[in-house]
Structure formats: structure tokens, C-alpha cells
């Protein structure tokens, strides 16, 4: 007969090690997540600085140079930032105050950029096309609408998409909603002062904005020109090979 003994110290020691592993994993993850938020914040600061400088330029109407302002890649940066922000929103808690503040700042930056671009368009007559997009939580169609807009932004870098969380507690968004009389039927798209409810496919939006077709044709022409160049190139190579 043997008497079984339990080494309680070992059970506690293992518990301690396991807890330490857990603690390390959680701290490391928190560290990386904070890094991510910092990255978003620094991009936002950069953009806000850019907008401020453009605003100062517009304020000094006399010195207003259409070439300088319309040439900025501001909106594309904003778009990329939006994607990062929604990833952070998913991976952290959506109610995270850190993320919420970033989201509010982001919405304000978007509105500023929107107003600025409107003025540029009026003054310089440029062909900037805007889509103002309102989405909400628990809205299945919004997911698809978001995909469509991301795709459009990839295909047409000139297109400016401003997306807003309809229910975000920001006074400026509420004002934007009331000025344009946008109802709480999401997704909602505001294009050239017309409001479109329900999901809009890529084809629908291309119908609504004729300028997109113009851009598409331009792109195809450029592509054909490049292909024509490429086709003529191998002949040169072939001749070289023969010569060698």
C-alpha cells in the first residue's frame, strides 16, 4: 500500500507561471493595441495640420491657388485612415473611449475636408465628386455598401468618400444630417444634394455620377496607349537577339 501525497506547492507554482504567461500575453497585446491607436492619432494630427494650412490658404482668398489645393492627396489619406480606424474599432471594444475620441476627430476632419473641397470646386471649377455616406450599427446592408464604396475609392482615386456614423454623438454630424434632411433609414448616400436610401451597387453609383464613366474611359485610353507601347517593344528586343 502506498500513500498518495499531493505536492501543493507545485500546483500553486504552476498556477503562478500560467498566470504570468497570461499576464504577459495580455500586456503585450495591450501594448500593440495602444501603438495602433497612437499611429492613428499621429496620422490624424498630420491631416489636421494639412487641412489647417489649406484653410489658411482659402482664407487668404487673394492668394488662393487652385493648382496647389486641388492637387493634395488629402482625401486618400483620410480613406486609408478610415479603414484603420474601423479595424481598431473591431479589434478593441467598440465602446473604447480612446477609439471613440479618434472616431469623432476623424468625422470632424472629414467635414472640414468636405467643406474645403466644396469651396475649391466652386472657385476653381474642378471636377471633384463627393459621396457623403451615412452608416449605422446593426445594419446589414451597410456592410455591403461599405464594400462597394471601398472598391469605388480604389478604382477612382479622384472620388472622395466621406463616411459618417449616423448615431455618433457629434454636433457637426447632426447639423449635416438636418441641413440635408437625411432620415434614419440606413445606408444613406448624399451625392450632389440628392439623398439615396437603400443599398446602391457599383453600377447604380456609376449611373448616378456620370463623371465616373469619363474617368473610366480616360483610364482605358491610357491603358491602351501603354499596351501599344509594350507591343512595339518586343520587336526591338527580337531584332537585338537576332543581331546578337
Amino acid at each position: 500500500m502506498t500513500m498518495q501525497t499531493i505536492d501543493w506547492k507545485k500546483y500553486i507554482f504552476v498556477l503562478f507561471i500560467t498566470a504570468a504567461i497570461f499576464f504577459t500575453a495580455i500586456s503585450f497585446s495591450t501594448y500593440l493595441s495602444n501603438k495602433r491607436v497612437e499611429e492613428i492619432r499621429s496620422v490624424q494630427e498630420q491631416i489636421s495640420l494639412d487641412i489647417l494650412s489649406s484653410e489658411v490658404q482659402t482664407a487668404l482668398l487673394e492668394q488662393f491657388s487652385c493648382k496647389d489645393v486641388s492637387g493634395t492627396a488629402l482625401s486618400r489619406e483620410l480613406g486609408a485612415l478610415g479603414e484603420k480606424l474601423s479595424f481598431a474599432e473591431e479589434s478593441r471594444n467598440a465602446d473604447d473611449p480612446e477609439v471613440l475620441t479618434l472616431k469623432k476627430t476623424y468625422s470632424l476632419l472629414e467635414i472640414k475636408d468636405y467643406l474645403l473641397m466644396n469651396r475649391v470646386r466652386e472657385k476653381c471649377g474642378t471636377q471633384n465628386v463627393f459621396i457623403v455616406y451615412f452608416y449605422g450599427k446593426d445594419c446589414d446592408e451597410c456592410r455591403r455598401q461599405g464594400l462597394v464604396l471601398t472598391k469605388l475609392r480604389e478604382d477612382y482615386p479622384e472620388l472622395r468618400v466621406y463616411s459618417f456614423d449616423y448615431n455618433l454623438d457629434v454636433a457637426a454630424i447632426a447639423t449635416l444630417v438636418s441641413i440635408n434632411k437625411i432620415e434614419n433609414t440606413l445606408p444613406a448616400l448624399l451625392i450632389d444634394e440628392n439623398v439615396y436610401y437603400d443599398f446602391q451597387s457599383i453600377e447604380n453609383i456609376e449611373e448616378i455620377i456620370p463623371q465616373l464613366k469619363v474617368w473610366k474611359e480616360q483610364k482605358e485610353k491610357e491603358k491602351q496607349a501603354i499596351e501599344a507601347n509594350v507591343e512595339s517593344a518586343p520587336e526591338v528586343n527580337g531584332q537585338q537577339e537576332i543581331a546578337q
Binding site: 504567461i21 500575453a25 479595424f87
Partner: protein, 411 residues
């Protein structure tokens, strides 16, 4: 809601699996000097009498090889008895046994079919030796195995010695997965030996003192896992079970997924039901580590593997559905861009990676223990990536059968 629940389950499972692995590794490093000591060859002081019972039911292809391996054991001929019990085979087993008719060292008995435990008990009644072992008819011993095992009986408290079971000539993927699993098993059982918590005395060549059966009774039906029940009964009666990690037995394992599934369904069902029968062991201080570590961990792993598979399946279905929606809405996504920003960095991911790392290190140690050195081979890959995906299926099936008390069959 679903997310919160699944996250909680994931973290609890990760906590227990890490606890289990760290406990195992610490035991290893703590007991390594003892392990080295045991490996030093020492001679047997004396040669006790031994009887090996081989129960067989429809094993015509493997039984001759099993008997020949016993006849080749390096042990005095007059001290070793071999009893073959045919449990009413309907194939050519009896014909195969006929060739041993004139061998004075082999006794062949035949009885009507009644199950493995009845065949073992049938053989036990003819045993007069000091020690008795059993050997499944699909397993083969090495010449030195018996002597290595018997050294552990120098300790008068030792009542049973289990061997190290290896897979016989693995070829198919299913066999290779089991090869790694059995290597893990050799390591795990040795750690249980140090913890005094061996909970199964395998059919392939566990040797007992004959008095064990006189004291606590014969084999029982035990939900078709008589070797598990006997070990638990021995633990209940505080009879010491040890493991000889360098006494090798080679066993034929299922070659196909179907036959493996059948076997594991029986094992898991047996484990669950015997755990229910012996539930008083769990968290009972009197029975040591078997009640506080082995059985609780095994039961937790059964439930967590089912839950994790469910979560994994549902998240992947959701992901596939999202992908489909994306494809329908905007067409194929041809562009590929990589940004560190979008790499997931949740604690559960780090913990999973760490846990898998510990499993790999245990496998490395296990392989070094069984093969002398570590080498990488494809079977490790199969084990790590396929085994976890198939295990939950027989576990869930066994759990279902246990809850609704259905009978599980042998074949």
C-alpha cells in the same frame, strides 16, 4: 453575446491547457535525474515465474507473430508460461493456433465468445505464477522487454508495471499521426509514473503481481475498456502502478480513419463512463494527483475540445459568408496589400501560439526520450494540423452516447 461566451470559453480552455502543459514540463525537469538513473541497466536479482495471457478474437493474421515474439523473449524458458485464449473466433485464428499445439511452452484454450474481459479471466484461472501479464493479439514484444519490466518489481510495493507502447510499422497518414500520439503517450505515462497517477494499464503487455487479482478481483466488462477500469480500481485500492518507459511493445494500430474513429469512440466512451463510475476519485485528497490533475484535466479537455471546434467552425462559416458577400457585392479581390497594422494581436492569439509551442517542446522531449534524439519528420506536421480537427468528432459522439447511454461496439 455569442462573442462574449465564445471568448470566455476560449480563455478558460487556454488557461487549462497551459496549466496542463506547464505542469507536465515542470514534472519532467524536476524528475529528469531520476529518469537518467532508471535508464542505467541493472541486472535482475532473480527470475520470478511469469504467465502471459493472450486473449484473441479473429486475429488470424497477427497472432502467430505475437506468439513468436513471446517465445523469443530473453527469459528462462522454465519460468515463462504462455496462455492463449481464443474467444470464439470465427475466422482462421484456431487454424493459426494449431501450429503451436506441440509447443510445450504454449497452452491454447478455446471458449465461446464473451468479450475480451471474459477471455482474460478465463486465462487467469490457470495462472499459478508469481506475476501475470497480458498481451493483445495484435502486439509484439522485443526480446528484452520482459526483463526491463521485471526490474521495477524489485520494489516490493510495485503491483503493476506498464510498458512503452509504440506503433508497429506506421505507413499511412492515420498511422503516422498515431505514431506521434503514442510517442506523446510514452512521455505522458512516464510523467504520470512520477506523479503516482497512472490511470490505464494497457492491454499490450502490462505485467501485474498475480496477487492483485486475488485481492481486488478479476477483469470487468467496464464499458469495453477493461484496462482503464483495472487501473482505476488499483488506484482506488492504493496499489502502486509504475511505468517502464524503455520496455517497448509494438502494436498494430488502425490504418483508416473509419477504424480509428471506431476505436477512439470506444476508448472515449469507456473513459467517460469509467470516470462516472469512479467519480469519487475526483478532487479527493486521498487519491493524490489522479484526482486533482489527471482526471479533471482529461474531463476538461474533452469538453473544451468540443466547444473549441464548435467556435472554430462557426467563426469560419461566418468568415466564409462574409467573403461570399464581398465577392457577390464587389467581385473578386485581386489586389493584395500587406500592412502590419492589420495583423491581429489579441491575447488569445499569443496564448494559442505559446500553448502550441509548449506542445511542440513536449513532443521534442518525448521523441528524444523514445528515439534518443530529436529529428523533424512529416508525422509531427500531420499530428499538429490534423489530429486536433478529428479528435472532437469521436469525443462528441462518445459524449452523446454517454448522455443517452447507448452501447458502443468493438468493431
Amino acid at each position: 453575446m455569442f462573442n462574449d461566451i465564445s471568448q470566455t470559453i476560449i480563455y478558460i480552455s487556454l488557461f487549462f491547457s497551459l496549466y496542463f502543459e506547464v505542469f507536465l514540463l515542470i514534472t519532467y525537469f524536476e524528475k529528469r535525474p531520476l529518469l537518467r538513473q532508471e535508464s542505467i541497466q541493472q541486472d535482475l536479482a532473480r527470475f520470478p515465474t511469469v504467465t502471459v495471457i493472450v486473449p484473441c478474437f479473429n486475429e488470424e493474421t497477427t497472432i502467430p507473430k505475437t506468439i513468436f515474439s513471446l517465445l523469443r523473449l530473453d527469459y528462462p524458458k522454465d519460468k515463462l508460461d504462455i496462455i492463449i485464449v481464443d474467444d470464439g473466433s470465427v475466422d482462421g485464428t484456431l487454424r493459426a493456433l494449431h501450429r503451436f499445439k506441440n509447443n510445450s511452452r504454449v497452452r491454447v484454450y478455446s471458449k465461446p465468445n464473451g468479450g475480451k474481459h471474459t477471455a482474460l479471466n478465463y486465462g487467469l484461472q490457470y495462472v499459478e505464477s508469481e506475476l501475470v501479464g497480458c498481451l493483445d493479439a495484435d502486439s509484439f514484444v522485443e526480446p528484452g522487454t520482459l526483463k526491463t519490466i521485471l526490474k521495477y518489481f524489485n520494489d516490493s510495493e510495485t503491483m503493476a508495471v506498464t510498458p512503452a507502447v509504440r506503433v508497429y510499422k506506421p505507413r499511412t497518414v492515420i498511422e503516422l499521426i498515431q505514431k506521434v500520439e503514442y510517442t506523446w503517450g510514452i512521455f505522458y505515462r512516464k510523467m504520470l509514473h512520477f506523479l503516482g497517477a497512472i490511470f490505464v494499464t494497457p492491454g499490450p503487455f502490462t505485467i501485474y503481481r498475480t496477487e492483485v487479482f486475488r485481492k481486488i478481483g478479476d477483469y470487468r466488462h467496464a464499458h469495453l475498456t477493461e484496462d482503464l477500469e483495472l487501473a482505476l480500481r488499483m488506484q482506488t485500492n492504493r496499489l502502486k502502478i509504475v511505468n517502464a518507459h524503455n520496455a517497448y511493445v509494438h502494436t498494430v494500430v488502425p490504418k483508416t480513419l473509419r477504424s480509428l474513429y471506431k476505436q477512439r469512440l470506444r476508448w472515449t466512451y469507456g473513459f467517460l463512463n469509467n470516470s462516472l463510475d469512479y467519480k469519487f476519485l475526483i478532487f479527493n485528497k486521498r487519491y493524490g494527483n489522479i484526482g486533482f490533475y489527471v482526471l479533471p484535466m482529461a474531463i476538461i479537455s474533452i469538453f473544451s475540445s468540443i466547444l473549441l471546434l464548435l467556435i472554430l467552425t462557426s467563426t469560419n462559416i461566418a468568415r466564409a459568408y462574409d467573403g461570399l458577400i464581398k465577392f457577390i457585392t464587389v467581385g473578386p479581390d485581386l489586389g493584395f496589400s500587406f500592412d502590419w497594422f492589420f495583423v491581429h494581436t489579441s491575447p488569445s492569439l499569443f496564448l494559442t501560439v505559446f500553448s502550441v509551442g509548449l506542445i511542440v517542446s513536449i513532443l521534442v522531449l518525448a521523441r528524444r526520450m523514445t528515439e534518443g534524439r530529436f529529428h523533424f519528420s512529416l508525422d509531427l506536421f500531420y499530428f499538429l494540423f490534423l489530429y486536433g480537427l478529428i479528435v472532437p468528432f469521436w469525443i462528441s459522439h462518445a459524449l452523446f452516447n454517454t448522455v443517452f447511454s447507448r452501447k458502443t461496439t468493438w468493431r
